[in-house]
Amino acid sequence: MKPTTLFDKIWDAHVVHAIDGGPSALYIDCHLIHEVTSPQAFAGIEKRGVAVFRPERTFATPDHNVPTIDQHLPIKDALSKFQVDKLTENCHRHGIELFGLNHPYQGIVHVVGPQLGLTQPGMTIVCGDSHTSTHGAFGAIAFGIGTSEVEMVLASQCIMQPKPKKMRITVNGPLQEGVTAKDLILFIISKVSASGGTGYFVEYAGSAFETLSMEGRMTVCNMSIEMGARGGLIAPDQTTFDYIKGRERAPQGVEFDKAVARWKTLKTDEGAVFDKELVFEAADIEPMLTFGTNPGMGTKIKSSIPSLGSIEASERDSFKQALDYMGFQAGDELLGKPIDYVFVGSCTNGRIEDLREVAKFVKGKKKADNITAWIVPGSKQVEKQAHEEGLVQVLEEAGFKLRQPGCSACLAMNDDKIPAGKYAVSTSNRNFEGRQGPGARTLLASPLTAAAVAVAGKIVDPRELTQN
């Protein structure tokens, strides 16, 4: 048999109907929805007079728009409340399971799925959110879709999709001390650019990914979209199976063993051909930071912002506009720049491991006075675990306060907005203009770097603070 990629194996097993020279009707195993990109889809099927085809394959939770304080009170913002209420109403009407506000499983949709064991190897998973790529960490084909496609899934459990090309990104060797999964993906995006992955689905391979925890793999796959790739996946292995075992919605007992036997076949065959291959060495990767207004504009935290001369002529105007927005000059050194806000959270880095990393670093230290720090757990379960493990106490002693779960300042749809002109080191995924609030200036980094910046009050290399 012809050697096949992991991506092809999963994709081909989900094609219900292929149109010559066109898209395929692709079956979706798991559909996640939230309050912002689903109401128009429900309105659509209702207008057509069709029922939700497989309500048991869709799961809902409000995350984008929810407040992160006083969640027990009615939502103050009338529009946000309406949207969250609409999700509840739609789920009840169509028989869809909802982890609503104040439900013990509520949280950011991409934190909730893996945590409950809904996310499993070999699945196709979609959600009206581009960071659905997160679930690729389990060896699933997972990607973000638009609301028309949400409507397709509700109506037929399928979407029409053209098959993307395949890219493999191999990173050899273990990451250095103080270098995290977030630095790894920020490094890759800085090399590939914010558009270099467009049209591709990525497989991450090599020992740098194999040695990562599931949380780390999720961080990597989460940001695949930031280089334009529709998604990214990592072949499942023992780390994956151990993570899934015993989770509420995962197969149990004999069924789990059978599933593992099946999941073990999910890997790229030797000799399988990719449309594009990139190879990097983990030894070249250091703590990273972005300085511009797309995630491709990142560099080693110890280095300087590139000079204008090093930027391609056609891209100089956009580069200059980005630096103007950030209030930076080409050639500036990053270390030592003062920071106003630190945001730890989001579907990229709002998991328990991220909170542990921050707590471990700040234990016995104090947050700098000039820093406002927001720590937002990715889900109610993460929040609960952070309390149980004593992380909350450590964080509070260092001057941090834990907020309640949601997307929060990652996209600033709720009140968690970074004020105009202020600098925020964020563990989230996008440094776009105004992403964290109109005029807000975002620098993307790992939770470890964010913790170090919170303590120092300015940009620092976390490795140096650890050593001292």
């Binding site: 219900v16 728009n65 581009s130 879709i145 638009g146 028309s148 397709m152 109506a155």
Partner: protein
């Protein structure tokens, strides 16, 4: 549900020359609280178009009366970032039927196609020729013929072919919709569910 049928669009264009324009710029997140598809056009490019007090920012092309038309001409990697279909709705709601760029982000492109907006990918050279033609004369017209898959700069006669999947072309020309197509596949989907192995 039938959509508007798409055949030929001949119009002047509004130029947005920036690269890597993400969907947060096209429609910022704080305007995503609506539960219908209409009305997003008013906030298209909101933070480039209006200052924080809500006053129009002079110089931004959508505020410049010399630019108008049903074609949006954009820089490279247009529509990257968030999957929000609200970006395509905003473009559509603001009266655009065609978006031209030398490079589109995937999800935005799909979202446009699902809303009767035609994304036309041209070569960087042709995009430059279009920007130049507008600089020369903002009223210059472009003709987009979906049947022939061509885009023409009317003032110079320069023309270029563009790609579109035959399926999507058929959908746009006839106003068909993927959702109806999929609903009609129901028995095939049921068979798939029974026979699947993975």
């Amino acid at each position: 549900m039938a959509q508007e049928k798409f055949t030929v669009v001949q119009s002047s264009a509004v130029p947005i020359a920036l690269e890597n324009v993400d969907t947060d710029q096209i429609i910022p997140a704080r305007f995503l609280k609506a539960t219908t598809r209409e009305g997003f056009g008013a906030n298209l490019f909101r933070d480039w178009r209006y200052d924080q007090a809500g006053n129009p920012i002079a110089g931004f092309p959508l505020n410049d009366s010399k630019y108008s038309g049903q074609i949006l001409l954009a820089g490279k990697n247009f529509g990257c970032g968030s999957s929000r279909e609200h970006a395509a709705w905003a473009v559509h709601d603001a009266g655009f039927k065609v978006v031209v760029s030398s490079f589109f982000a995937d999800i935005f492109k799909n979202n446009c196609l699902n809303n009767g907006v035609l994304p036309v990918q041209v070569t960087p050279l042709f995009a430059t020729a279009m920007f130049d033609a507008i600089k020369e004369d903002p009223k210059t017209e472009f003709r987009v013929n979906l049947e022939k898959q061509t885009i023409t700069i009317q003032s110079t006669g320069e023309s270029l072919g563009f790609d579109i999947s035959p399926y999507k072309k058929e959908c746009l020309i006839n106003g068909y919709d993927d959702i109806d197509y999929l609903i009609n596949l129901k028995s095939k989907v049921e068979t798939f569910e029974m026979e699947r192995t993975l």
